[in-house]
């Protein structure tokens, strides 16, 4: 099993006696894309800032590739790329000038890198325009280009799709996934738009009230939190009893929604239906990230 690239143990942080992070434990493997998800004000941005060594924690230990953000901050920042929520670009300079400036700051030697990224993020036609005149989506794409200038080993993305239109979201997320596959860059993506992250991240950390309440891959979280599987089957079957093969269901038009104890039951159920009827589609309803998110929050808030 691969060793953890980022280790965070018992991390605490408060501002003016208000606790923002409490007993945070967080681990990321090298090359993993992890979604850091939680409601607004849960502490995601503060956590990212602490990992980058620009805010001091009150207590706890952090190791990123064996480095401590406070002692070896510049080494961590050299290998990190970050997209902040406010994008942090210079509005009075053009897109190209911004990228050249950050290239120098990050010590990028490759002169073609700026043009490469402008082309990649569809900004080449706007390279001479002042960033102040950019749309929100263009600023986000430029911020992402800025974060990738020095080919970082870790990418911190704080709400990278905020303000993007559906095309922009698709462009950015599919690029991030492809980039991760090609380069093995570790990525931490903060977001509260859950369905966007589902196909991009390999695992998820749920942050709530300043604590990481759960962390793991979607499959293992599903196993842990989903006790009743809701499966929607579009079929010609019209059962006459309130239960079918002993499983409860409800019907909506020509669809039946079954409450099943596990995934394994799906094929048994389908086999039985197909003996006498047709099946047009089968969909599991409550195994998506959003359902799991609410289950996790419910479980931890109920404690």
């Amino acid at each position: 099993m691969e060793a953890n690239f980022i280790h965070v143990n018992n991390l605490y942080k408060s501002f003016d006696q208000q606790a923002v992070l409490q007993n945070v434990n967080f681990h990321v493997k090298k090359g993993e894309i992890i979604g850091l998800i939680g409601p607004n004000g849960a502490g995601k941005t503060t956590f990212i800032r602490i990992l980058n060594g620009v805010i001091k924690s009150d207590k706890g230990t952090i190791q990123i590739n064996g480095l401590d953000p406070l002692k070896d901050g510049d080494d961590i920042r050299k290998m990190s790329g970050i997209v902040t929520e406010s994008a942090g670009l210079y509005h009075q300079m053009s897109g190209e000038e911004n990228l050249h400036f950050f290239s120098e700051l990050y010590g990028v030697k490759n002169k073609n890198r700026v043009i490469e990224l402008l082309l990649l993020f569809d900004l080449i036609d706007h390279k001479d325009k002042k960033v102040g005149k950019y749309s929100t989506g263009m600023k986000k794409r430029l911020a992402l280009a800025k974060a990738l200038l020095h080919k970082p080993e870790i990418l911190f993305l704080d709400e990278p799709t905020n303000g993007l239109d559906p095309d922009g979201i698709k462009l950015v997320l599919s690029y991030l996934k492809k980039y991760n596959e090609e380069t093995g860059t570790t990525m931490i993506i903060c977001s509260h738009v859950l369905h966007q992250l589902e196909n991009v991240c390999q695992s998820f950390a749920f942050i709530d009230h300043g604590t990481i309440v759960e962390q793991g891959a979607l499959a293992s979280l599903e196993e842990k939190y989903i006790d009743v599987l809701k499966v929607e089957i579009e079929t010609t079957l019209k059962p006459s009893t309130p239960e079918y093969l002993g499983y409860k269901y409800s019907s909506v038009g020509n669809k039946l929604i079954f409450d099943l104890p596990s995934k394994q039951v799906i094929s048994i159920l389908l086999n039985e239906i197909l003996k006498t009827n047709e099946v047009f589609s089968v969909t599991t309803l409550n195994t998506d990230l959003e359902s799991i998110y609410f289950k996790v929050r419910g479980a931890h808030n109920g404690k």
Binding site: N52, V54, T84, S86, G88, Q92, L105
Partner: protein
Amino acid sequence: MVSKAIIRKDIIDITRSKTLLTTLIVIPIVFSVFFPLLIMGSALLFDIEKVTGSDLNMMLDKFVSVMDSSVAAYSVEQQIVYIFINYLLPTFFLLVPIITAMTVAANSFVGEKERRTLESLLLSPISIKDLYLSKIIASIIPPLFVSIISFVISGVIINALGYPIFSTLIFPSTNWIVLICCLSPMIILLVVLVNILISSKVKTYQEAQNIAGVVVLPIVALIIGQISGLFLLGVELILILSGVLLVINFVILYRISKFNDRPDLFEKQIH
């Protein structure tokens, strides 16, 4: 190592900001074009000797008695112009580097904070010391440049209009040369250092300007209030004052070079 990228970026920033650029253009015009034009023009157009009374003549005699012996041989008109150019104008002239340095340096960190770009800088691998030093250099260049240009323009005006009165070039005197080479750069550095420190501690430009007005202006006023006297007393004292400022600047710079608290700077932003 200072970051050339930050220096270049800051200078671009200043030249593209209408407010900063206006200050950098208007202030030198007022103090290095308008003032010399006014006095030299008056001397050429009006008969100053007739306007002045006996009280002024007595005062002139006192002034002249401590000056170079050649001044005593001047006519009253020449003496008035000479005193204005060499003893009063320097006080006004110093306002050029002071006001421009204050404006530029106060904007330095606060401008980044207000536009939420300081976060990007602090999240990049630049050390706090290098960030401060780069910002200091970027804030020194415009006032230094502007004051040298102003010096040249003043010189051209004074000599062009002064030649018919004196039949010789009266500018620059040794005092002026020491002022532009030693005192002005030291004052620029002091104003920049103090304003950069303020700019890094406060959150808005307004706040930076207010504090600078309360803390920096009185000190500066105290210094420039003495300039006429210093000029009268000679080059040595101007050099000594420049030396004292050099030591003060060095102490502040040394302290800044020890700055290493990134979280402290980060937390003094608008969130």
